[in-house]
């Protein structure tokens, strides 16, 4: 991904307008911001956003996607540019791989394994040692995608329990709940997962892969970008679980960051801004890449993983899903 362009995060209600060949972001209670369009790789809108046709035309020309998160903090949808990066031959190869039960199951297996590996790495290596060996065993014996996902769920449940032991009372998860998240911890995880999903979608859109043809999740099920669901599995622990534990450990998350009812919770305005900032900074963290021989940002790791999958589909090169190596 280009070093020159960056992601823009909109955290307060605003209107995006086109001014000649560039963008203006208008906000109610603050001055307008002029943004050179070549500086934008994509936009994550975490608050109410207005835009019109002329903006969309400009965004499309520069291949900029806009990801929208709804009022409740869940992923609401994306404004995607036309599929200029997909290539017929790659998509066909991808479909062939996905249709072959043997190869697609192999990919699904390695995705589940890598995901669990990352969870264990982030949460607690010692306490999750046993669940992880159990999971590896059932991965070996599993015969279908549904079976794999069941095994992953079991592993995840023990991971959630371990996470609870490291959180203050009011942040504890008490099992994962979604739509709506039941408590503060779950609200945090859902929100960060939504952002990760959006970022992976951008990354996949830059590669020739089709975002709907998947290996672990059902292809195009419920009009979701299933491939993005597959690929974001490995990155969710890196962002969500890791940030939650870190921010709780540092006492950075406060009760006023959440709006809590008896049976549901969401991030408050202040909390949303705070979390988005934390996530944004986290995506910019760089690590030394072994084979590329340079530093890559977490953000770029998503793209590189999608490229590795492209290579697997097109050329049959071995695909090793992302594992935290540092």
């Amino acid at each position: 991904m280009p070093a020159a362009a960056r992601t823009y995060w909109l955290t307060s209600p605003c209107r995006i307008r086109r001014k000649d060949e560039s963008l203006i972001i208008e906000r109610d209670n603050a001055a307008n911001v002029h943004v050179p369009v070549t500086d934008v790789r994509d936009i994550v809108a975490c608050a109410e956003t207005d835009l019109n046709t002329s903006v969309v035309a400009l965004l499309n020309r520069h291949r900029i996607n806009v990801h929208l998160l709804s009022y409740y903090g869940d992923y609401a949808g994306s404004l995607l540019t036309s599929e200029t990066s997909t290539s017929g031959e790659t998509v066909l190869a991808q479909a062939r791989v996905a249709q072959d039960p043997h190869t697609s199951l192999a990919i699904a297996r390695s995705i589940v394994d890598a995901c669990a590996f990352n969870v264990r790495r982030v949460v607690d290596r010692k306490l999750l040692n046993r669940p992880y060996t159990v999971l590896q065993e059932s991965i070996k014996n599993s015969t279908s995608q549904a079976h794999l996902m069941g095994a992953e769920g079991t592993f995840r449940r023990s991971a959630w329990e371990v996470i609870d032991t490291k959180l203050p009372d009011w942040l504890q998860l008490g099992g994962r709940s979604r739509r709506p998240p039941k408590n503060a911890g779950n609200a945090f995880i859902s929100y960060v997962n939504g952002i990760t999903y959006a970022r992976v979608l951008t990354a996949v859109r830059l590669t020739p892969l089709h975002s709907g043809i998947a290996f672990l999740h059902g292809t195009m099920e419920r009009q979701r970008h299933s491939l993005v669901l597959d690929l974001s599995e490995m990155f969710k622990p890196l962002m969500a679980e890791r940030l939650l534990l870190r921010m709780a450990g540092r006492n950075q998350l406060k009760e006023h960051h959440f709006d809590r009812d008896t049976n549901q919770a969401m991030l408050s305005d202040a909390g949303r801004k705070f979390v988005v900032q934390a996530v944004r900074d986290e995506f910019a963290v760089t690590v030394a890449h072994r084979t590329l021989g340079r530093n890559v940002a977490y953000d770029e790791l998503l793209y590189l993983d999608a490229l590795a999958l492209t290579r697997h589909c097109l050329e049959g090169a071995a695909y090793k899903p992302f594992r935290i190596w540092w």
Binding site: A4, S85, L292, L314, E315
Partner: protein
Amino acid sequence: MIGYEDVGGVHIKYLYHCRRQLWLYLRGIRPEHLNTAVQLGEAVHDTSYTRNTPVDLGAAKLDFVDGGHWVHEVKSSGRPSPADEAQGRHYCQRLHRVGIDAQGAVLHYPKTRRTQRFPYTPEAARQADEDIRDALTVARAPASPDRLARSACRGCSYTDYCWTE
């Protein structure tokens, strides 16, 4: 897949630079727009030599042709390479096929303020034809060619694709 008439300058350039790159390019792997160096090159191209009109030959698009029928090609790099020469030769061959007797190629290297002239001889014509056939062979290969040595990939916009693991 592409045929004899579809082979353009970029194909010939990639053929000399890296066969794997050509193979991938033909299969729709186009990461160039993500590369900062490429973006800079495009910007330089858009803003320099604006008085000359590019000539569009369908598959090939060359910078300009002067009154003496010499093909001019501006290169943003400082170091001449066989790929540049092959590209110029290919444009001459394309012009001959549409009935213009191109005299040869002039390659401009503004960075070092040098130009190089390559007259279009029968020998060059044979070579140009051979290049096109080579490109077609690479295009039809079912498996991708191997990667070059890692050091040869420096600055290539396909590096991320080829070397991520």
